[in-house]
Amino acid sequence: MSTGTTKLDVVVSDVVPVNELVTRFHFRRRDGELLPTFSGGAHVVVEMRDGERTRLNPYSLMGSPLDTREYTISVRRDDVGRGGSLFMHNQVRPGLEMVVSYPVNLFSLDLRAKKHLMLAGGIGITPFMAQTAQLAGEGGNFELHYTCRTASLGTYADVLSERYGRRVRLYHDDREERIELDRLLSSQPLGTHLYVCGPAGMINWVRDRAAALGWPPETVHFEHFAAPQPGLPFDVTLAVSGKIIRVGEQQSLLEAIEAAGVDPPYLCRGGVCGQCETNVISCDGKFIHNDHWLSEEDHRSGRKIMPCVSRFEGKSLVLER
């Protein structure tokens, strides 16, 4: 259904509770073949058939890229979210046939780096599972700093510590442990690249400190786990396809466009890849942009919108789709 990626027919081969919030899902190919190779940091978009609705959520691949007999993802349950994670937790069982996209990597390692410094927060650990496995296999130089709320919510902290020993440092919020960021960033050898994945607050903090301490922007890599935000319902006219659609409270504009039978491109569904960019033909109201793709000037101009994460409040909106 998407023009963005090729699809893979998979079957859920295992569902493993990891801790009170996180569950891991394993997928194999239905035809028994190997899955496509991928690179550390890649995600797949998982299609969920939830009654009438199809939900599409991106999740990082966390297995080793060296072993593609199965794909594994970890899903953190979000009780107040839009329902994708609850569907995964409540409905998905071993044996269920599902469809996932080919891997897409919007958070890839810079292979020129002399050293990879990784900072993870909470469920933001998942892309690093694959990246560390990839680097360990090649004798790559990395160091991972991982913050989580409590030891019991330190998803895979034990696995990582066992695999990589002193290359992994853990920080627990409930013990008031905090990354000494400035010291860490100031003491890295030349040629180090920095990677951060976690809550928006953490990403912003790390990016700001790195910039303040003189890290060139091209050495700082980050992955947002931005789910579309709910908001007031609104109506949109799609000029090219001639449809008028309503975007529900819990629905993204992209999902509403898809539900209307239009097939727009996407890759990340999180406002970072640029694929879904759409021209605004006319509008009377205000945008809530939420994306990390368009420039501030684009946002101000009101001529473009990223339907995967952005919303609208106002009287009328006409898009070129």
């Binding site: 090729t6 190779t37 897409v104 890839s108």
Partner: protein, 346 residues
């Protein structure tokens, strides 16, 4: 049935020829009677049987001779093949892609067997039978990119993707139309395209880059490009300009049909899985005017395209010197009747 590989040269006595079947499968690039520069990118999917798109990586009757020519170019100038240190993983990606595709399309000529990391590669046309460990460079006689591209037709640019841009950080380039890997290596997309006229204003490159950085694994794309070359030279590099540049002054009304070649590049774009790089194979097809005009539709249409080409494009493609001679020669084969739509011969 297998391909009958020709014994031929792309230098000195220039014995390169296309067989009649190969003339008909030539990827003629003009679908109408005029030519405009455009981003004509489409999905790289398998095409009709008997066309150059029958397989995603094409192997044809010129394979063995082209590989011999490549070995000669490399012996003279090893800098035609370069790979920055961080591109080794992408080289393995490319090795896998080319071995898989060649073995899939031409099982009578190539065989790939894998047992975990132990791979065996048999290339019958070149008499190669090697067993190696995938990922371990010390088990191959060359780096992975060089090893496999010494056995694959066309040039290969491997691009690293970072900071929203593409960087030409590795490549095997011996059959190029007047550009140089040694000059472009390490450059980003805008830097290596800087010399193309007319295109910048149109924002073509911005859109093309956006398209390319979004190329997905499992969904390769392609485009055709063209120029002309005097004599069937594969290697028309800037380094060798002193050899091929003067050829342009040798075109006469008598030798146009034998000397002037249409040179078509089938460029494809693939996302590489382990390195997340993009490989950009540029496959070159040559056809001399005498061969091309055996298809009356192509003769008529090429006449109109070359005659009406805007001056700056003709200059850019290096046609200026011999264009009047060529147009005059082709005009005799253009009876003015309409040409049918599409690329193929009638």
């Amino acid at each position: 049935m297998g391909i009958t590989f020709r014994k031929e040269t792309f230098r000195d006595d220039f014995t390169f020829r296309n067989s009649p079947e190969h003339i008909r499968r030539f990827p003629f690039p003009f679908h109408e009677d005029s030519y405009m520069y455009a981003v004509n990118i489409e999905p790289h999917v398998v095409g009709p049987k008997g066309s150059v798109l029958e397989n995603l990586i094409d192997v044809d009757e010129h394979y063995v001779a082209e590989m011999q020519d490549r070995a000669m170019v490399l012996a003279e100038d090893p800098l035609r093949c370069q790979s920055l240190p961080h591109m080794t993983l992408a080289g393995w990606d490319l090795l896998e892609l080319l071995m898989e595709q060649q073995a899939l399309g031409y099982p009578e000529h190539f065989t790939l067997t894998r047992d975990g990391d132990r791979w065996r590669w048999i290339n019958r046309p070149l008499g190669i039978d090697d067993t190696f460990t995938f990922g371990d460079t010390s088990t191959l006689p060359y780096g992975p990119m060089e090893y496999i591209t010494r056995q694959s037709q066309g040039d290969f640019c491997i691009l690293d993707q970072r900071d929203g841009n593409l960087w030409m950080d590795a490549g095997m380039v011996t059959t190029q139309a007047d550009w140089s890997l040694d000059f472009d290596i390490g450059m980003n997309f805008f830097e290596w395209h800087a010399p193309v006229p007319l295109a910048h204003e149109k924002g073509i490159f911005v859109r093309a880059l956006k398209f390319l950085t979004n190329i997905q694994q499992g969904k390769p794309a392609r485009r055709l490009n063209w120029t002309m070359t005097i004599n069937p030279r594969l290697d028309t590099s800037p380094e060798n300009y002193h050899k091929w540049g003067p050829d342009r002054t040798t075109v006469t009304p008598e030798n146009v049909g034998d000397k002037v070649h249409l040179r078509v590049e089938l460029q494809s774009f693939w996302r590489l899985p382990r390195s997340n790089g993009i490989v950009f194979p540029i496959r070159c097809y040559l056809i001399k005017m005498d061969e091309l005009v055996t298809q009356p539709k192509w003769a008529r249409r090429l006449h109109r395209v070359i005659r009406d080409l805007p001056e700056e494009l003709a200059n850019y493609k290096g046609l200026t010197r011999y264009r009047p001679t060529l147009v005059e020669w082709l005009s005799k084969l253009d009876d003015g009747s309409p040409t049918s739509a599409g690329f193929g011969p009638d």
